[in-house]
Subunit: 254 residues, 2 copies
DNA sequence: AGACTTTAATTGTCCAGACATTCTAGATGT
DNA sequence: ACATCTAGAATGTCTGGACAATTAAAGTCT
């Protein structure tokens, strides 16, 4: 390695175990030798052994389980490409000054088309909140937006008036919901005559639709928002940076 | 917290230090009290103190520096939402059986429009490789694809014949280039008459364009690929999972 | 055969100590 | 005033020990 004259013992041990994992000596699903055995094998202290195991755990290769052992999860810490944002609003690409202008809010049952779009069952009930996202209170409309909320949180519709905060954020706060997972889907289409007129563009203008599915605890989708943008003034960009895959490393807040 | 009857001491200490960081007691750029001082203050062993500091380091809040101290990097470890894929090809959403059918390859200079699209200077030279991505060798065209490669790697065009491997992968292998960063941008548009005919859809069909910018070492963009899909059969989906932001946690391979 | 208890295995947490390595501030010399 | 050296501060690495908590295997009882 680099300019490092000497490799710490714990690193030599983790390298040795890593080689063993890669060679198939410790297959995925098996357990590494226990700490006591490793202490004996490498003639090192328990602290040093545990430090070596922690390196492998940080790489996502193993998972230590009290009372059980050290389970091998993967034989390879393949490089991963990561996109990371600090808050869901960074997925929006909207200027801070934009606002949501509520037009209608209705309690509906999903028909076949909507069920497919929302990924739910035909007949499922949702509260559908339709509106426009605009630049400022009286500004240019940016996009048409439909927000679907589960009936349990449907009363959020009454709280939207005049607020520029995202619906998911208000739901999280009001109902103590946690946003655990967000799926974003992009599709292209054509704006209907009505929407084109409202958005101030020609009928037949292509559009980019962004659907976001917000999942709370236990994986339940509690909100889906679908924004439809005229293609002329909207693109969606995201960026991936290379790094080790350490999925298990994310600590889960509560 | 959860069902945990008792919080480990090291966690209590890291929580206490975290509160101090958040309260501004330890501003960004300052050093936390040294280990010896913390041992005294919390009446805990050095191991326990170091474990507490490691928690903060894992959260990306501090950085321990031998001989120097523990530098405060940030006052807030905001939860981050992460999308992670194992390889760039996972960003493609193409079936494995798809193939790239090369139509033309030319050496061009970027005009104003192309320069804006590629994010380069007017007059910059690129090798433009145009083609169709199809299902299998004789299959249905999926999309129209233009790949732009820097002239240095332009000879890759001669190697594409009959291969189903991605261009970026062949470049990485042939020229020992490394893919450090990928930016993906999605826009909506309308297929031109020529492209619509080639893709077997009606003229005026909306399209979803996916542009991918591959950066190598030093941040240089060595390839840009632009795929244009008929909207009817293509959507782009990605998923974010919540976790602590631990940007410093990614180890950088080479 | 199944349920329950006990024992052993295994990792987690906490303590203490010592030496190594790096960095910085202060002292000393030119 | 600048360069060099030294001592002290600070974290890194490694050792040893002990008790706690969890899991699984073995033994016992019905």
């Amino acid at each position: 390695m680099a300019a490092d004259v000497r490799t710490p013992l714990y690193r030599q041990i983790s390298d040795s175990l890593l080689a063993g994992i890669r060679e198939g000596k410790f297959p995925v699903g098996s357990f590494l030798p226990g700490e006591l055995e490793l202490i004996d094998r490498f003639d090192a202290s328990r602290h040093t052994i545990r430090e070596a195991l922690r390196v492998l755990e940080d790489m996502g290769l193993v998972k230590r389980q009290r009372g059980r052992g050290t389970l091998v999860l993967s034989t390879e810490a393949a490089p991963a490409y990561v996109q990371m944002v600090r808050s869901p609003s960074e997925l929006f690409s909207y200027p801070d000054s934009s606002q949501f202008r509520l037009l209608t809010d209705d309690r509906i049952k999903a028909d076949k088309s909507l069920a497919r779009e929302l990924g739910c069952q035909v007949g499922d009930e949702w509260v559908q909140i339709s509106g426009l996202r605009t630049l400022g209170a009286e500004g240019m409309p940016i996009c048409w937006a439909n927000v679907y909320v589960i009936p349990e949180y449907g009363s959020i519709a009454q709280r939207l008036g005049g607020s520029s905060r995202p619906v998911y954020e208000m739901i999280a706060e009001t109902f103590k919901e946690s946003i655990e997972n967000i799926t974003v889907r992009l599709t292209a289409g054509v704006l209907s005559a009505q929407k084109a007129e409202t958005l101030g563009v020609e009928e037949g203008t292509p559009s980019l639709s962004v659907s976001r599915f917000y999942q709370g605890r236990g994986g339940r989708v509690f909100e889906v928002s679908i924004s439809e943008h005229p293609a002329s003034n909207f693109s969606y960009t995201f960026e991936f940076t290379r790094g080790w895959q350490t999925a298990d490393h994310w600590s889960w807040s509560n």
